[in-house]
């Protein structure tokens, strides 16, 4: 099949280009004849300024020779900066012409104006454009609902394409080697915030939430490049630099990292922190999922619906701080929300055990490195509640006071015993967890009865 992909493309380094090239690779591997058209010169076969009516009509002249057109849709590609409603209306209408001229059009929606159309004319034109598309896809259920509402599209017409469906690993390093490669200390809990440093990424929120964690051996690394062509971004980065310099354990690396190095950073981390102020779906989350790194992220956009990554979603800065402390093992209550396996009881049980293990100090082997098999092995031991002294309260008059006196008098004998018993329990759990699983016992499989 002859396919034309319309998208930003490498060597431009942005999420959309990165996404597109991975889909192109997969389509070509499947035997399709794929060409790419990008908005400017790139590694694409063709380039065309796609902004406005002129761009859309130029696209219309290019699409006829292909069996299938795939558009990686972002408004900036077609509308430019700050278009007026009338400009948007005309562009929508022209894009409708372009899409109708094609045999088959698929639009992967990565971003769109969530408020929908501002005027009746714009709404009409936008509906025409969406009507001319044969297949519309988004990355999450939430985006499907919002897109349908914003533009009056029947939800059934919008399919969900997993964001990371075409993603591949770009490093085989393990955490130890990744940290060595990056010159990072081998020990200590490492939080990572990575991506272009922009206000809406909310990396400043991560720094504030991190405050105080350095004294517990934690680090926060913020890694990403700055797009200096936007004055708002420059001001934001200056503020972020000041904030980081005043926060022990936080570090800002203004670096333009390679794709491989991006993944090496993820592998080196124990957890990613993505306190976005605005996002619809996140490629970083998908890359974290490739390496089984947990992600703390804002509960916005479609992040809650993104499959794959182990997500802790937070609603505000207080929850963000709690989540970071939790993952670092500083509080016991670690809750990973959403992203459950499907209707597979064994998988669900494994997931339950895994998540539960992270919520207790006994199972807190941070960073998603705990595996299901040790969790199962240690379960009988973990079910035993820690030994404590009997409750000193009593309904009988004076009995409570008497019990408290006795406790104080005998504490010098009983407390070391209780402590020793609990330490024995902890040591037994760790010993069992460290023991290789019996290969004859499947880690996942049919449950008895």
């Amino acid at each position: 099949m002859r396919i034309l992909m319309v998208s930003p493309y490498p060597p431009a380094r942005d999420g959309l280009a990165n996404y597109a090239v991975q889909e192109v690779k997969r389509l070509r591997a499947d035997g399709h004849d794929v060409e790419v058209l990008s908005p400017g010169p790139s590694a694409a076969h063709h380039h065309l300024d796609l902004v406005g009516v002129r761009g859309a009509l130029a696209l219309a002249r290019r699409v006829r020779g292909y069996d299938r057109i795939i558009v990686q849709y972002h408004p900036n590609v077609f509308f430019g900066d700050r278009p007026t409603p009338s400009e948007r209306s005309r562009t929508y209408a022209a894009l409708a012409v372009a899409f109708r001229a094609a045999h088959h059009v698929e639009v992967r929606v990565h971003e769109y104006p969530h408020a929908g159309a501002e005027t009746r004319g714009e709404a009409t034109a936008a509906r025409q454009m969406w009507a001319a598309v044969d297949r519309i896809s988004v990355h999450t259920e939430r985006e499907r609902g919002e897109l349908a509402t914003a533009f009056g599209i029947a939800p059934a017409r919008i399919s969900i394409e997993e964001h990371g469906a075409n993603f591949e690993k770009r490093t085989n390093l393990d955490k130890v080697d990744a940290r060595a490669r990056l010159g990072l200390p081998a020990d200590g809990f490492l939080f990572l915030a990575i991506g272009f440093v922009q206000p809406h990424k909310g990396f400043d929120r991560a720094v504030r939430a991190f405050s105080g964690l350095a004294e517990h051996g934690c680090r926060l690394e913020i890694v990403g490049s700055v797009r200096l062509d936007d004055t708002d971004y420059v001001a934001y980065v200056e503020d972020l630099r000041a904030l980081v310099s005043a926060t022990p354990g936080a570090n800002l690396r203004e670096e333009y990292v390679s794709d491989a190095e991006f993944d090496i950073w993820i592998v080196a981390a124990d957890a990613l922190v993505l306190p976005y102020r605005l996002i619809w779906s996140s490629g970083v989350c998908e890359r974290a999922a490739l390496y089984h790194r947990p992600v703390i992220a804002s509960r916005i956009g479609g992040l809650a619906d993104q499959g794959g990554a182990e997500m802790m979603l937070v609603d505000d800065d207080r929850e963000l701080a709690i989540a970071m402390r939790s993952l670092a093992g500083l509080v016991d209550d670690v809750r990973i929300t959403g992203n459950w396996p499907g209707a597979d009881r064994t998988a669900v049980m494994d997931e339950i055990r895994l998540r539960a293990s992270r919520r207790s100090p006994a199972g807190a082997s941070m960073g998603g490195t705990q595996t299901v098999a040790p969790v199962r092995q240690t379960a009988p031991l973990r079910r035993l509640r820690p030994l404590t002294m009997p409750d000193a309260r009593s309904a009988r008059p004076g009995a409570s006071a008497m019990k408290r006196v006795v406790r104080r008098l005998t504490a010098w004998q009983t407390d070391p015993i209780i402590k020793q018993v609990n330490q024995l329990q902890q040591a037994a759990i760790e010993a069992v967890a460290d023991r290789p699983a019996d290969p004859s016992v499947p880690a996942s499989g049919p449950t008895a009865r």
């Binding site: 590694a43 770009r170 085989n172 390679s258 491989a260």
Partner: protein, 398 residues
């Protein structure tokens, strides 16, 4: 070691008439490894000239000497490159460019969409992909398709472009880097805070079996002592400035020297020395080697060198080298070998020329150490050994 798996060498240009140090090193390395039993592909453009990037070779696949498979991809230049010229001026002036501007600078030049997609489809079939030099689109864009199996031989010079942020990913994210000299490696470490794995492998040269200096003079009708320059005659190599300085030195200083030059690029000699400048254009390797042997000294005026093959070629022929000290590489070689003179301004350049004119025997005595220096450090067998060791270490066969 196991010479298994296919190696892909990706020079920006390859073939007859191509002038350039990086291209020569990569070509000889590819063929040297093929002779050792490796399966070798050369992936390159159809261009010969790195200014126009005009497609002069046919695209497609051919098998050449040593069983090397050459795959040529057409260059695409789809703009007037006006924006690139503007950005070049800004870069030369040291003005900071935003990342998006750096990307536009890179893309407003030759591009190779067909090579990019060939690698996207087939990079898994190569054990290693070796790119050089770092500065051009082929290494920059195509070198990031499969970084886990990419080895970059940057051929880095201390030039303004080297400091652009856009290049960080290729220096930090490739599987490995091969440097040609210690100063080049030091420069890379100073620019890029976190280099990927690297090794200084140097570069090899084939040692000519014999030289025929008298035959060269006879064939070209050249009499009397002369100095020589071979390579790209262009501003980036300080060619014009050297030509002017040479004119002042020989005219004002009354020096009996001529200048013989060969290679690519226009030669516009000052009128007062026009009869003393011999432009031979593109010549065969044998003819070039004979010229080295016939010359009193070889001039290396370039400040942007990562290795300088021509200095080595001159020393192999037993000829004195006079090199610009603005290049740390030039100075390093001259200091290490003890076989070259270094100048830092026009006055020193004139005095170097005076020395070889007035004391040719002493100059020859100094230059004598150069041949052994090259034989000790820069012949192909030890360089190829180092290349194979690093391939084995970074990309073990599985």
């Amino acid at each position: 070691m196991e010479r298994k798996g296919r190696l892909g060498f990706v020079p920006a240009r390859y073939g007859d008439g191509v002038v350039g140090g990086a291209e020569a090193v990569l070509r000889e390395m590819a063929h040297g490894l093929a002779q050792r039993g490796w399966e070798v592909d050369v992936l390159t453009t159809c261009a010969r000239d790195h200014f126009t990037w005009e497609n002069v070779f046919d695209p497609g696949v051919e098998t050449v000497a040593d069983g090397v498979t050459v795959r040529r991809f057409p260059t695409v230049i789809s703009t007037a490159r006006a924006e690139r010229a503007q950005f070049n001026a800004a870069i030369s002036a040291g003005a900071p460019l935003a990342m998006s501007e750096q990307e536009r600078w890179m893309n407003d030049d030759l591009r190779l969409p067909e090579m990019f997609h060939y690698l996207l489809d087939h990079s898994d079939e190569y054990r290693a992909l070796v790119f050089a030099p770092y500065l051009f689109w082929p290494a920059f864009a195509c070198g990031q398709v499969a970084p886990d199996r990419t080895i970059l031989m940057p051929c880095l010079h201390d030039e303004p472009e080297a400091y652009l942020d856009i290049f960080h990913p290729v220096f930090s994210g490739s599987r490995g880097l091969w440097f040609l000299s210690d100063p080049e490696c030091d420069l890379a470490r100073s620019i890029h805070p976190r280099l990927t794995d690297y090794e200084v492998i140097g570069s090899g040269l084939d040692v000519p079996a014999h030289y025929d200096p008298e035959g060269f003079r006879a064939r070209h009708g050249i009499e009397g002592p002369f100095v020589m320059y071979a390579g790209r005659r262009e501003g980036g190599k300080n060619w014009e400035a050297m030509l002017d300085a040479f004119a002042r030195a020989v005219v004002n200083g009354g020096l009996p020297l001529s200048l013989v030059t060969m290679g690519h690029g226009e030669v516009v000699a000052p009128p007062e020395i026009a009869d003393r400048v011999f432009d031979l254009g593109y010549v065969s390797e044998a003819e070039r080697n004979d010229a080295y042997a016939a010359a009193t000294a070889y001039i290396q005026p370039s400040a942007f060198e990562s290795f300088s093959r021509t200095m080595m070629e001159a020393w192999l022929a037993g000829t004195m080298v006079i090199a610009a000290g603005a290049s740390a590489v030039n100075r390093w070689h001259c200091d290490r070998s003890g076989a070259g003179l270094v100048y830092d301004d026009d006055d020193e350049f004139e005095e170097c020329l005076r020395f070889i004119s007035e004391a040719p025997d002493a100059a020859a005595g100094i230059a004598a150490a150069g041949r052994q220096y090259v034989l000790d450090h820069y012949t192909w067998p030890p360089v190829l050994d180092a290349v194979e060791r690093s391939i084995d270490a970074w990309l073990p066969w599985s």
